[in-house]
Amino acid sequence: MKQNSEQSFITCPTCSGSGANDKNFSCAECGGIGEGLFYRGNFLYWGLRISRGNIFLRQVKHFLDLLIDLIAFLIFIGGLGSLVFWLWQNLSAGILNKILFFWQEKSIFILFFWLGLAALMFLIYRADKMRDDEARIKEFKLIELKTYPDNWEQLRRYKKRLDISLTFRDKTLSIIEDAYSLALKLKNPEVTSLHLFSAMLKSVKISVLFARLNVSGRDLVDRLNSQLSALPATLKKEADLKIANEVKEILMQGFVEAYELKEDNTTVLNLLLPCVVSNRIVAEILLDLKIDENKIKNTIAWFRINEQQVANYRLYRKLAIFKPKTIMDRAYTAVATPLLNNFGYDLTLAAKWGRLQLCVARAKEITAVFDALKSGANGVLLTGQDGVGKKTIIEGIAREMVTEENVPDFMRDKRLIELDVARLVSGATAADAEARLLTIIDEINRAGNIILFIDNLENIIGITAGAEGSLELSEVLATQLEKGLLRCLATASDQNYSQHVEKSAIGRTMTRLKIAEPDKDQAIQILESKIGYLEARNNIFFSYNAIEAAVELSAKFIHEKSLPEKAIEILEKTAVKAAGEHKGERHICDKNDIALIINQLTEIPVQDLGEQEGEKLLNLEEEIHKYMVDQEEAVDMVANSLRRARTEMREGKRPIASFLFLGPTGVGKTELAKTISRVYFNKKDLLVRLDMSEYQEEDSIKKMIGDSDGTKGYLTEAVRQKPFSLILLDEFEKANPKIFNLFLQVMDDGRLTDGQGQTIDFTNSIVIATSNAGSNYIEDEIIKNTPIEQIKNSLINEQLSRIMRPELINRFDGIIVFKPLSEKDTVAIARLMLADVAGMLKAKGMELEISDAGLAEIARLGYDPKFGARPLRRLIQDKIEDEIAKKILGNELARRDTVVINDSAEIEVKKAREL
């Protein structure tokens, strides 16, 4: 005996779980049970013996059953036919009397007819018996055991034993038999979970499941076959073939799962997950195909949701028949409500006709609403973020009120009516609106069968009839609620609740119920319930990965709305796009289809790395150096952090990267930032540039993050609109110290709360601050040939700490010191800048030729160790660009001409041949 507690398997030590002794008779110790499990006080075991003979017999039994049913059916049809034949024969003879009293006639045809009816009765019996005899999980009582039997002697005599094979139907049994036959065919000594998994793949349900997971069945089968062929083929005779304990354990775990999910019988779906968990090879193969346990679990849940939906729908339609079709209750005691009908929308009636959407995975919230009402509250207010599904919960309540299965007594035979506030107040003065509302409440009160619902409760707050101090619309409703004259449900978003509702009378009167955002698995299940409709409408398919990606990516990158709505929107957009692009074919939407939509909405690259992009990232340094000269250390550091970001090798809670670029003016700090934006983001407009010298005052903080009066902050609004961007903070040291504190939070948590209380996500941006602080020191030390590392250390410890707090300096991922430019660098920079000029000329159809000596001369003239590359830019502007402009205006330069920069850096024009 191993262990004696629930949920641990007990194996017979004599036969090691096989249930048979050496001579292939039942093991004397365990009586052939072999292995079992205590569950709810019952001892579970697998009692069905599988052998080739048994498999054959089961097939014979199936065949005979079918044959008997067929014979009975043929007799019945033949009986009907013979009566018709007899009637036809006698009709032509024209003897009406004979036909009307056909049973009094003696004829072989009539006899056959009566035999046919007997066969019909037999068929009715067989059908009912078949339903009754179907393997079924019966609920059993929980037996609390203080001590478990601790030897097989006791176990053999233990009365509460359950052979779980009785809960397996033929379809599932045949899978186990297939696994057995497979092991026999391969001459393996044991039927293992690998055989079982392999056999499962033949089941339709499992192949659909793997199709949903976007796995190619052939690929999976090939991998399995190669693993199966590696198993030892040592079996000599069938009698030696054993069913491995792991397989029995899988079957028992499958049963336990089916029992706990209150399923009818143990199906292949119950066996899949235990099988994957039990076999390391299967788990590894699936992991190679990017499938983990959680994915399988959620895909199985998808199947269940679909089955549940169909079952629920049937039950719903059956019960909905009984709900009155009119505004009256069943006893006709209600009173007509003409005004309310005008300003309201009958949700229960809409639900009866199936016009409302399904409410999935929200049973807990619905029960909470009922409980609040039962405990005496007349008003219940649902609050939560936008998109968490407050209205859907209300619609779920309307559906419950139609079936009247689980609703409290006072909600039976009632109508749930949504008050259309827009219609109530439109075209009316506040006083009129109040009068209307009062009349409506009177109607509700008299009718007695109405529960009111107000969506966005804040809409009725602040509408007041007269001078200061007079009642406003929501107060009117609040007083009536307090008097208990009506019951009311309402919704409000969190923001509106705290801004408008919380302090109002109506907010105090109603019981608040917070609706939380569903967690990932819940959201996936809600989405799974919507898929069928989307697929049917757009004639496409969704893989499980697509659903998971819609939830995960929208949770990560879209912050203005909540789950599940934002994920549903992504799915809808994907479906419409895929349907448009793949007309006529049944396209399977995968993770990348979802990623493309997210990318379109946020510009964040979330799709899988393509080969081209991977190559670009690998050669990022080279790419940057096309626009930047030298500054190797800076370029390397930036390139590495970008690669980490794109391959998701970073913590998700901070910006992609944050750098502080230090160095004298004109050495390329800003240029590097711009180059990154050009190379990595591919777009220049994803650069958010802030000149920090404009934020020196304390109140400039408002300019940056906005104000509670509604003014949008420059920084927060820019990042909100383009979360995937590069934020360049020029001359960072000049900003007000309070602004430094803001960036402490940005770099630490990756988020910032703006003036309106909205949280802005910075985890997809790159923050680069540039500073000239200590540039004189850098120049001096470079001349002295001090190593860069030493310069950097003393800069951070002495120069920078005078301006910024050490914790801020510490937050940067990297502090990079830019070296002053050498004369050699200047030549390279001059070449880059002239390449820009050449580009401009090319657009006008002209060429540019530069002599080496001319380039060197420009570099010499433009070189100024103090101001870096800036004087060079000015020089090129004055000496080259201005001159070219003049020549174009003076018609000295036309299309196809070549501009030459000669050895003394002067402009010459080489005229092209006239055409």
């Binding site: 089961r58 008997i68 004829s107 035999l115 009765m121 052979d163 094979s165 069943r330 006893a331």
Partner: protein
Amino acid sequence: MLKNSNITLSKIFADIFKDIVFFPFWWYSLGLAKIVKGLAGFVAGKEKSLALIVWIKNIFVPMYGQRDIQGAIISFFVRLIQIIFRSLILLFWVIIALIIFWLWLLSPILIIYMIVLQF
């Protein structure tokens, strides 16, 4: 029919034999109970959709909230007519159910009688 216990050929044939022999017994025991339950459910469903009991319970409650004397009197008579009318419809369904019940009960005897009559 056999359950998924360990099968032998003799068990299979015994089961088929049992099916044929015991089927008339089933007809008058379990089968009869099931048909009665089914018909009762059918009649209850019809009653629920006619709301007859709701009408009877509310016979003295004025319709449409008309609580004045005239309203109450009119309401009483309207309800009475409604109740009679709805009872007739329900009665029709009960008769249908009874016919089915008797058919179930008598059909084996009838069929055997008719077969015997042929010889």
